[in-house]
């Protein structure tokens, strides 16, 4: 039904939840009211902590979890060009799930693009 990596992250998402007083938020909501929020804790251009909350399908949930694993402890700069193409090495993106994956990727990018080096 779903690729193994999606099921793994969906059933046990990593870094789910909120960060109190985050440096910034990345948010995205679709017309059908699916919503994803990333909480960024950034110090000197480095993503120290990244958490998420989501109301969306298993793909969207898993993608949030995968993104937090990819981005934690990395430089914000490294993710300026991030897109769903970067996820293709982990799993095949089915056409009918593109919107779900975009939800999570767009929420993450919304946060990344807000960041300006102090």
């Amino acid at each position: 039904m779903y690729p193994e990596i999606i099921m793994k992250h969906f059933l046990n998402p990593k870094n789910a939840g909120k960060i109190e007083n985050p440096t910034l938020l990345g948010e995205f909501e679709t017309s059908s009211k699916a919503k994803a929020v990333f909480y960024f804790k950034i110090e000197n251009g480095i993503i120290k902590e990244l958490k998420f909350q989501i109301s969306g399908c298993p793909y969207a949930i898993a993608v949030c979890s995968i993104i937090t694993e990819l981005a934690t402890s990395k430089k914000v700069e490294e993710f300026k060009q991030f897109s769903k193409k970067n996820l293709e090495k982990f799993f095949e993106i089915p056409e009918e799930k593109e919107d779900c994956i975009n939800l999570s990727v767009n929420a993450f990018l919304n946060g990344i693009n807000k960041y300006r080096l102090p």
Partner: protein
């Protein structure tokens, strides 16, 4: 892992007795009943097919020669709508239906509309009920057909088809009902209900998939949908699906005898499941009619604040198979037309869970279902941003 199947409105498990009855007709009794005048084995098979016709007719109190075998509900619906519309065009071009019909009705109606027919839709109230008074108001001299489902597949609401049949009869309009959710589950008397055409499907009542029937009252003016060799009195050409038909006949025979008993059991499990869900999970709301006025196995509810797809996938991981009218979609997928029609709020469109109980479900399953549902609803709500 043992499966707890709660999607019996989608399909049902074949009853062992049905399977047993079907099996010889795949192998030693495989001949084509069409050659019954020249082959004794064909004649023997024809006798079984005709017995199936008698059993299906008996289930809905029709005459056997009013039953025509098809490939299932979708074909029966297409036959009824297109067949009656095209055969009665000189009389009129208006058809009345509802906005909560199955796609097997909606799509053929869209096609007929493109062909110039006028489709008038009656509204439903917040429980999914059609108001027969509104149908009366829509009837005109040009109305040739009223097609209203007997019970809704998604929310289980049972429509007042007796009153609708009465209106159709008074106005000399054909009345078709898509009864795939009710045949074999509740008793139907087509004569008493003034039904002219009725669609039924074997796999919704413990028969095999790929076979069904249409009841067409004697004297109904209708064109065939499938044309060819002239089987089924020319109404439905194509070599008979003998194994399927014999399975359908057996399922009908079992249902006639056992549906009241099974219905009680199914209703008790459904009621107790809903009671426990309500007691243990906050923020759940029933969609559709009250318990006495909906299909005995149907539960359809909103789980506020979560989307149905992750919940269904998570339940599936624990061996619990349930349904949702329209799966969660982040993007453009259309929400359930039934939820829209009964006035559910946009933000709840994708929070629908459908659990449909069948005769093979057991009391012991209830606690397992509720425990897992409670667990995942809590987890998904915690994960949700609002």
């Amino acid at each position: 892992m043992a499966i707890i199947y709660l999607d019996n409105a989608a399909t049902t498990q074949v009853d062992e007795r049905v399977l047993k009855k079907m099996l010889p007709f795949f192998t030693e009794k495989f001949a084509n009943p069409a050659t019954k005048w020249t082959s004794s084995i064909s004649k023997e098979i024809d006798i079984y097919v005709e017995q199936a016709r008698v059993d299906v007719a008996s289930l809905i109190e029709a005459d056997p020669d009013e039953i025509f075998f098809t490939s299932g509900g979708t074909e029966s619906d297409n036959t009824a709508l297109k067949g009656v519309a095209l055969a009665n065009r000189e009389k009129g071009d208006e058809i009345i239906s509802t906005k909560i019909e199955h796609e097997a009705i909606i799509k053929p109606l869209e096609t007929l509309e493109k062909m110039g027919f006028i489709i008038k839709f009656v509204n439903v109230d917040k429980y999914g009920f059609v108001d027969p008074g509104e149908i009366k108001n829509l009837v005109s001299k040009k109305t040739i057909l009223i097609s209203i489902m007997h019970a809704n597949n998604e929310i289980g609401t049972i429509e007042p088809i007796e009153e609708i049949g009465e209106i159709a009869k008074e106005n000399k309009i054909y009345f078709h009902t898509d009864a795939v959710q009710t045949v074999g589950h509740i008793s139907i008397n087509v004569k008493q209900l003034n039904i002219d055409l009725l669609s039924l499907s074997a796999h919704k009542f413990y028969g095999p998939k790929g076979v069904g029937a249409i009841y067409i009252r004697k004297g109904t003016k209708i064109n065939p949908f499938m044309e060819g060799g002239g089987q089924e009195g020319g109404i439905r050409s194509g070599t008979l699906n003998t194994t399927g038909i014999i399975g359908l006949g057996k399922a009908a025979k079992i249902a006639k005898k056992e549906m009241d008993f099974d219905g009680e059991k199914v209703k008790n499990i459904r009621n107790s499941l809903w009671k426990k869900i309500q007691e243990q999970i906050p923020g759940v709301f029933l969609n559709g009619a009250e318990m006495g006025k909906r299909l005995s196995g149907n539960l359809n509810f909103l789980v506020k604040g979560i989307r149905n797809e992750p919940l269904l996938v998570a339940l599936n991981e624990r061996g619990i198979i349930a349904g949702g009218g329209s799966a969660c979609s982040a993007g453009s997928k259309e929400p359930s037309h039934v939820l829209k029609a009964i006035g559910i709020n946009t933000e709840d469109f994708f929070s629908e869970i459908r659990m449909t109980v069948g005769k093979f479900n057991r009391e012991e399953e209830i606690d397992i279902i509720v425990e897992n549902l409670k667990d995942y609803v809590k987890k998904l709500r915690e994960l949700s941003p609002s």
